[in-house]
């Protein structure tokens, strides 16, 4: 429960949200079907629906990362099962099905040097996206362990491993049972400087493995990189890793629950990477009680080991703001990370509609956080007509003076079928100046682009979706992650591979806004490590603001017309100093009487024009 803020009970929490009016009052009771709802299914030949998005490339899984006997050929699998059943009826011993669902699932993405790194339960693949045409496979690495959440920093690639089958040597055999020194659950570090000889250089064992992790560069020492590790799985045996023990803090103050791992990596000696702290970020800030996000101990039903919110699923850091947003099972939290080894909780949020706080994304200014709710864990079809529109959705929260406040929900605004696993999942910002826009994956619900510039009224501005992998039965598939990188959206499809999509202009997104976003080029992008987006002073950026001010009617038509003319001239390399000076002054004056986002847009526009004038 929320426990440190004003909400003392779920009833109070609901009251606060209800009186906030936005979170529930404006939600429809149910979504209407649309063009995405009844698409024909298939693995690589499913019907598609696209709105304001264009699929440029669909890259099927490479050799070694596709198993025709596995999940993704459900028909073939069903036939094999039927054959086995028939054999049994004849009194014969049926052959064992060679079948491991999820074993070759594509998962999360990271980006560096124009390359796309695609995590996989069985390893990772790296594609070169700098070539003309479709990205080309540049490296395949097999190292099983799931789920394969990836991050990149320079020549180092970091991979999360949580499964019991993980092995130090990237194999899968010879380490069974309860305690085994060969078992690996934690974060692997690979050196990928040479694509002809990738090497594992370190493997940092953790108590609960690694479900996701987040890179946090040291604020001043470029040779130090921190990793915030989120383990969601069970605590391993102390005989396997001596720092580990389970249980509730009142019986076992050393319990591995109720913490995250802070790992320190010296980039000059990555093989020495080690856990340096396991901070108690859920502790009560007044009493220090480790299980601080729980206040229910007086009801007499608690057994000696009552479970509580005791892990984060994912953490997103924004180092320039010294902030992190944690999606931590039963709560969303905000952390002060100015001392990276000792993050301090500033605020926590609870909401009765949120089943499992799963991931977090800041807007560029850091005063809004989009939290996702992975209701049902991602393997269930939770976007059907009778599913509540506020469950398995995004919760959009504002940040004011270090306090999180829930404002609204956004869920895939359509109906999906019973064989499409669907719930809110990973996404990242699209760098359109003057607006908050996020692209996001919804498993087999496809990809949406959401405008949350007004955190109380988020809405959809683009989508892409395919029919189910298998219309007959639910096959776990769809987009694990959809992220923006250097002008394109990359979607990691669990079963189908890697997709590349491009924004198409519409009433919701002008050609200038798309062009301004596509001009933002970054070398290294790990979506859970947010850096402030900046735009060069360019006519497309000025036009983006003008397009937005036209939509909001936030600028006098005469000034807007003069501004467009001046920007067109600037684009042709002609800047009239006198015209530009007057315009800059007029727009700055308009900014003084404007409020909210229009104030920010007018201020930014006047600054862009001033820079154009200065040449």
């Amino acid at each position: 429960m929320t426990l440190r803020s004003t909400m003392l009970s779920s009833a109070a929490a609901m009251a606060v949200l209800f009186t906030g009016a936005s979170a529930h009052a404006q939600q429809p009771r149910a979504f209407e079907p649309d063009a995405r709802t009844a698409l024909a299914g298939g693995l690589h030949d499913a019907e598609q629906a696209a709105w304001n998005l264009q699929l440029e490339h669909a890259i099927t899984p490479p050799p070694g990362f596709f198993d025709p006997d596995a999940l993704f050929y459900p028909r073939a699998f069903r036939e094999a099962m039927e054959a086995a059943a028939a054999a049994r009826e004849r009194g014969e011993e049926p052959p064992a099905p060679a079948f491991t669902p999820l074993a070759l699932s594509n998962t999360d993405l990271a980006f560096a040097g124009g390359r796309v790194i695609v995590g996989n339960y069985n390893g990772f693949n790296i594609y070169d996206a700098t070539v003309d045409g479709a990205p080309e496979l540049a490296l395949s690495v097999v190292c099983p362990g799931g789920q394969g959440d990836v991050s990149v920093h320079g020549d180092l690639l970091f991979v999360s491993v949580e499964q019991n089958r993980g092995r130090l040597d990237c194999g899968t055999s010879g380490a069974e049972g309860d305690v085994n020194p060969e078992r690996f659950r934690g974060i692997r570090i690979f050196d990928i400087s040479d694509f002809n000889a990738p090497r594992q250089v370190a493997a940092v064992q953790t108590c609960r493995g690694s479900h996701t992790h987040t890179l946090l560069p040291h604020p001043s020492d470029p040779d130090v990189l921190y990793i915030y590790n989120s383990g969601t799985s069970f605590v391993r045996e102390g005989d396997e890793l001596d720092i580990c023990s389970a249980g509730q803090p009142e019986e076992n103050p050393e319990t591995a629950l109720y913490s995250i791992d802070v790992i320190k990596v010296q980039l000059s000696a990555p093989e020495e990477a080690a856990i340096v702290n396991r901070p108690r970020i859920f502790a009560d800030r007044d009493t220090g009680e480790v299980a601080g996000l729980w206040r229910g101990g007086r009801f007499g039903v608690a057994t000696q080991r009552t479970a509580q919110t005791n892990h984060c699923h994912d953490i997103t850091v924004y180092p320039e703001l010294n902030l992190a947003a944690g999606a931590c099972s039963g709560n969303g939290i905000l952390l002060d990370i100015s001392d990276p080894e000792n993050p301090q909780r500033l605020s926590d949020l609870f909401d009765p509609d949120m089943a499992y706080w799963h991931s977090a994304t800041f807007n560029n200014t850091g005063d809004v956080v989009v939290f996702t709710d992975e209701w049902g864990g991602g393997t269930a079809p939770r976007c059907q007509a009778d599913d509540p529109v506020t469950w398995g959705a995004n919760l959009i929260a504002t940040v004011e003076d270090g306090e999180l406040t829930g404002q609204s929900f956004f869920k895939l605004p359509t109906v999906q079928g019973a064989t499409e696993n669907c719930v809110a999942h990973n996404g990242s910002l699209i760098p359109v100046p003057g607006r908050d826009i996020m692209v996001q994956s919804w498993y087999q619900g496809g990809i949406t682009v959401m405008d949350f510039t007004d955190p109380e009224n988020p809405f959809e501005i683009a989508y892409f979706d395919r029919g189910p992998v298998d219309p007959e039965g639910l096959v776990v598939a769809g987009y694990w992650s959809a992220y923006w990188y250097n002008g394109r959206i990359y979607g990691a499809e669990i079963a189908r591979g890697l997709d590349v999509l491009r924004l198409a202009p519409s009433e919701h997104l002008s050609p200038s806004e798309i062009a301004a976003a596509e001009r933002v080029i970054e070398d290294q992008v790990n979506p859970q490590t947010q850096t402030r987006i900046t735009w060069e002073d360019h006519p497309d950026v000025a036009r983006s603001y003008l397009d937005q001010l036209a939509r909001s009617e936030g600028l006098d038509a005469d000034i807007a017309g003069r501004a467009r003319e001046a920007v067109d001239q600037w684009a042709q390399g002609r800047v009239n100093a006198r015209i530009m000076d007057r315009l800059t002054r007029d727009i700055a004056r308009a900014a003084e009487s404007a409020e909210g986002r229009d104030h920010a847009r007018l201020t930014a526009l006047s600054e862009v024009l001033r820079q154009a004038r200065a040449g």
Partner: protein, 272 residues
């Protein structure tokens, strides 16, 4: 609003992967990598499951079914909106997980029911599942199909010896008094498995109304959820268990979801 809609039948842009890129399998930290063939890469992705995994799934289906039954009672007897909403969510989650577990068992040629589990006093295990897709294709399980036979010893597991870990949870009477086990226990006081409510507790729940029902429901469901966490602990302590990726994922979700729901129920208890 006018929506520009592009409907593409088939795929215009599927690209075949390059044949030339080698596949590397790294060694342990500090060791060199080796090149492997695609079929070996696929073989490494495959994993096995053991008897204990199957029994865990079979029992968790039964365990989840009781939560669905409890929520069915809530719909006609409860008073508190927050409890009702949470109940709906729990039932929805548990029904979906039951579906997933049945599929998991079916896909591995295993029966959805543990033949060693007594169904004598377990009524309504499948309540609320009339809308189930057809899972009738269960064939009598031969005890071997597709299993690793290196671990066939689960003697006693089918009959559930009381594990120390269940002390408290399993025999927790939710009227606040603990009855020590008498010499000849009333079968009505014996839950089908630890972490489930006994028939007598279910009867007490079914007899309650309003805020009294809400309180009993929350207390019972907390015990019930705690039982699921104990079952997970019990499974991972067994040799070779929890290697199957889908099962491993499922365990993580059970732990996180049930923990979050317990947290929520603890807080709701202060409201009813």
């Amino acid at each position: 609003m006018v929506r520009l809609l592009l409907l593409l039948a088939g795929v215009a842009a599927v690209c075949a992967p390059s044949e030339a890129t080698p596949i590397f399998q790294p060694g342990a930290p500090g060791q060199p990598s080796r090149e492997i063939a695609a079929d070996e890469a696929v073989a490494l992705s495959r994993s096995s499951f053991v008897e204990a995994d199957v029994i865990f799934m079979q029992h968790m289906i039964v365990h989840h079914a009781q939560a669905v039954e409890m929520v069915a009672l809530l719909e006609t007897r409860g008073a508190h909106d927050g409890v009702r909403r949470l109940g709906e969510r729990i039932a929805s989650n548990q029904a979906a997980e039951m579906e997933m577990m049945r599929t998991w068992l079916e896909q591995r040629g295993q029966a959805a029911d543990d033949p060693n589990l007594s169904h004598g006093h377990h009524h309504g295990a499948h309540a609320g599942l009339e809308d189930h897709t057809d899972h009738a294709a269960h064939h009598g399980h031969d005890g071997h199909g597709a299993r690793h036979s290196n671990h066939s010893d689960h003697a006693g597991h089918g009959s559930h010896p009381a594990h120390g870990a269940h002390g408290g949870a399993g025999e927790h009477a939710h009227h606040g008094h603990q009855t020590p086990a008498p010499v000849a226990p009333d079968p009505g006081d014996t839950p089908l498995m630890p972490g489930m409510l006994s028939p007598n507790q279910m009867a007490a729940l079914a007899a309650a109304y309003g805020s009294e029902f809400d309180r009993l429901f929350l207390e019972g469901m907390i015990v019930h959820h705690q039982g699921a966490l104990d079952m997970v602990d019990d499974l991972i302590a067994r040799p070779g268990s929890a290697q199957d990726p889908q099962l491993s994922d499922f365990l993580s979700h059970v732990v996180s979801d049930q923990s979050a729901e317990i947290l929520r129920m603890q807080s709701l208890l202060s409201d009813v």
